[in-house]
């Protein structure tokens, strides 16, 4: 125990031209369909999700299938490209079940196909069939665990398909729920008999939460207990890793908007952005954003390449980026002064998203505990 493991290979931390093209397409779509006033109004409505936006993103751009190999009906891209989509979703806090369905549920199912190499069922079982539907954007699925669950903390909450799971993100719009139980993983239809999805009041209005109650429900078995645990863990690891890119997007918007506002806002016959104390705070935030980008890219690249460094890369990215997004959103509110406290200004949506994201898939503290183990820095 004298030296840490070095990363096995140098990660690619840049964006490729293809990734930049994808970003442009997603950004144009979101500018068109998810500008701030639209998101604010939608947030409180009964249906925060814009079905047209989802179809354009998932099917039109093909973002839903980025993680899925072509032979399974997907785009055959990787976590690097999905991370770019999430940066853009973070920049707009647009409500869309991308992280939950196209990343976490998808990655969980991938672990059960031949690609994942866990079950011999391979590419033709029910997991593969559902995967193809998710990849096409025609259906969505969410993993039925509380949103706060860290990758290492997913004990199956239910003994069988019976009982309640609280705080599932995007459950209200999912067609299918992937339910881990002590007996294994099941796919349960959201509208099947014995299935009740009860909306909760979320802190983050742009990502609804719901409780799932199963009583005498039936489901399609996807995996036994061991394969289920491994697949869930892999799904949550991908979720945590790519959440860092969403957090980067949040932080980027908050910084850019704060810079823009403080350049334009005049007090004392000067732009408030010319006051040195504010400048230093925004410069420090910039440094955090730049650092968050490196951490998030590293996690995405490690997941994309299947690097053995991925668990540490994800833990580092989450331990770091959670705080950056919250800090950026808090500074955004503060440096906007009173207007940043109002419902009509979008800053609050970013604050709520950033705060909720800092709990999602494990707090920074939980990820630091993972770092302690992975980097061989044990607790007392």
């Amino acid at each position: 125990m004298t030296a840490p493991a070095q990363p096995p290979a140098t990660p690619d931390l840049l964006y490729s031209q293809d990734e930049e093209d994808l970003r442009s397409a997603v950004r144009a779509l979101l500018a068109d369909r998810a500008d701030a006033p639209t998101v604010i109004v939608a947030a409180e409505s009964a249906t925060p999700y814009d079905q047209g936006l989802w179809e354009a993103l998932a099917t039109g751009i093909g973002a839903a299938g980025l993680l899925v190999p072509e032979k399974l009906g997907g785009q055959g891209a990787s976590h690097r490209e999905a991370a770019v989509v999430l940066e853009e979703l973070g920049r707009t806090v647009a409500p869309a079940p991308y992280l939950t369905s196209s990343v976490v549920a998808t990655e969980t199912l991938l672990a059960l196909t031949g690609t994942g190499g866990i079950t011999p069922a391979g590419d033709s079982g029910p997991a593969a069939a559902l995967l193809a539907e998710l990849a096409s954007g025609s259906r969505t699925a969410v993993l039925a665990v509380p949103f706060a669950t860290p990758p290492g903390g997913a004990q199956a909450a239910l003994a069988a398909l019976d009982g309640t799971v609280q705080g599932i993100a995007d459950a209200a719009v999912a067609d299918v729920l992937l339910v881990p139980t002590a007996e294994g993983l099941y796919a349960v239809g959201a509208t099947a008999p014995g299935v009740a999805v009860e909306p909760l009041v979320p802190l983050d209005l742009t990502r609804p939460l719901a409780a799932l109650t199963l009583s005498g429900a039936a489901g399609t078995p996807l995996a036994g207990p061991d394969a289920s645990a491994t697949a869930v863990r892999r799904g949550l690891l991908a979720g945590a890793g790519l959440l860092a890119s969403e957090q980067l997007g949040i932080a980027e918007w908050c910084l850019a908007e704060t810079v823009r506002y403080t350049r334009e806002r005049h007090q004392f016959n000067r732009p408030v952005g010319s006051f040195q104390a504010l400048k230093h705070r925004m410069a420090q935030l910039w440094l955090e954003v730049v650092s968050a980008r490196a951490a998030a890219r590293n996690a995405a690249d490690a997941l994309a390449t299947g690097s053995p460094d991925a668990p540490l890369a994800v833990a580092v990215a989450q331990a770091y980026c959670s705080g950056v997004a919250v800090h950026a959103a808090e500074e955004c509110v503060q440096l906007h002064g009173g207007i940043g406290m109002t419902w009509e200004h979008p800053a609050h949506l970013y604050l709520k998203r950033a705060k909720a994201d800092s709990i999602a898939y494990g707090t920074a503290g939980r990820h630091r505990e993972a770092v302690a183990e992975l980097a061989e820095l044990p607790a007392p």
């Binding site: 979320p202 005049h266 016959n269 000067r270 504010l278 503060q334 406290m341 419902w343 604050l351 709990i359």
Partner: protein, 396 residues
């Protein structure tokens, strides 16, 4: 000159009031009016205006006697702006007629007051305000927009500052008025906040007519008059005493004790750090209070608001995180107009969001840090270019 009033004398008068108007059989408002007329409302105010020209410290004796007799009070939280801001300004700058007209219904609570100072374009730089008041015969005609006005929808009167001469530098062209909130040109709209509530209002003023007799202080000296108002606001923020775990640290400490399953070493370390800081802030406030009592007021008051804003934000932020799955939930987003605001009320998510305002309302933390640096530490001011320029020529 009245004979010197001491504690025994105010107690005697209080008992006299109670005997003449037994609280059990006297209507609330009648009792309060009688108390005002007996000079026992605020004993340090002049005789005839609810006081006895007595030292402020004697008020405690009155309040204790009245509380013991179960007498009604004037619900000071509901009429805080009237008591804390309007009254001292009327007392300091009002004409005899204005004092007689306004102070009694203000104190009794028959007339609620609000404050029309801040504007969308004039927050930290309040003196840059753009609401215009133009003289028209015996009246002033006021047009503009005010914001962050609490109680505006309940208020009968407002204290208002408006620009009466745009050709003068910004501090010198302001006058101070009493605005009738029932004027048809006053339009109050709730301003919804990030908590979902509408604690404050926007107030649109269109051709509002204010008689010149409702001006407080000379024309063009409104900024100086407003300093009296704002100084009283600061004092009321800094002076209160709190028990150990009395503030935002209370709920999270209780959660920690009652919910062992939530504990991690990371949150434990942060909780301990914040608990220590909250305890030290409590002691700092207590030391300030002791200084005030000893007649040695220190500059610490400027710092207490800074300290509590930061602590409230960090503690509630920790609380939301500590709660994990529950921290992802919120009580209720329905827009309501709360009568009273309790920063530590409702759930952790509310506390987290509401506390963001603590470093903005009543002077941003950035402005307070400037004030500490310049007035307490004596650090030099930044070069300024807005003091000698006509208001109309300022950039905005």
């Amino acid at each position: 000159m009245s004979p010197a009033v001491d504690a025994a004398e105010v107690r005697r008068r209080t008992r006299e009031l109670l005997a003449a108007h037994p609280p059990a059989t006297t209507g609330r408002t009648d009792f309060l009016k009688a108390r005002f007329d007996a000079g026992l409302a605020w004993v340090h105010y002049p005789q005839g205006l609810g006081g006895l020209d007595a030292p402020r410290s004697l008020q405690q004796a009155v309040d204790a006697e009245l509380a013991a007799a179960d007498a009604p009070d004037n619900d000071p939280r509901r009429i805080g702006i009237g008591l804390g801001m309007a009254a001292p300004t009327i007392l300091g700058y009002g004409t005899d007629e204005q004092k007689r007209r306004f102070l009694r219904p203000l104190w009794v609570g028959e007339e609620v007051w609000c404050q029309l100072f801040s504007e969308p374009g004039a927050g930290s730089d309040l003196a840059a305000l753009a609401t215009r008041a133009v003289r028209d015969g015996d009246d002033w005609v006021v047009d503009g927009q005010k914001v962050w006005t609490s109680s505006a929808h309940a208020a009968r009167w407002a204290i208002l500052i408006a620009r009466t001469d745009p050709d003068l530098p910004k501090h010198r062209g302001i006058s101070y008025f009493i605005c009738d909130m029932t004027d048809p040109g006053v339009d109050v709209r709730p301003l919804r906040q990030i908590t979902g509530e509408a604690e404050f209002n926007e107030v649109f003023l269109s051709g509002v007519r204010i008689p010149d007799s409702h001006r407080l202080g000379p024309v063009g000296e409104g900024w100086k008059v407003a300093q009296t108002t704002l100084m009283n606001e600061r004092v009321s923020i800094g002076g209160s005493r709190i028990p150990r775990e009395g503030g935002m640290i209370g709920p999270v400490s209780r959660t920690w004790r009652e919910r062992p399953e939530l504990r991690t070493h990371g949150t434990h370390q942060r909780l301990l750090t914040l608990w220590v800081e909250a305890e030290v802030a409590r002691l700092t406030g207590e030391r300030l209070r002791q200084q005030l009592v000893a007649g040695q007021p220190g500059p610490e008051g400027s710092g207490m608001k800074l300290a509590f804003a930061r602590l409230n934000q960090e503690i509630s932020g920790l609380e939301v995180e500590l709660l994990g799955d529950e921290g992802l939930l919120y009580g209720d987003w329905t827009m309501v107009r709360p009568e009273l605001v309790d920063f530590t009320g409702r759930d952790a998510g509310y506390r987290y969001l509401r506390s963001k305002g603590n470093s903005i309302e009543g002077g941003t933390s950035e402005v307070l840090l400037n004030i500490v640096a310049e007035r307490v530490l004596g650090l030099p001011a930044e070069p300024r270019n807005d003091k000698d320029v006509a208001w109309k020529d300022l950039s905005r």
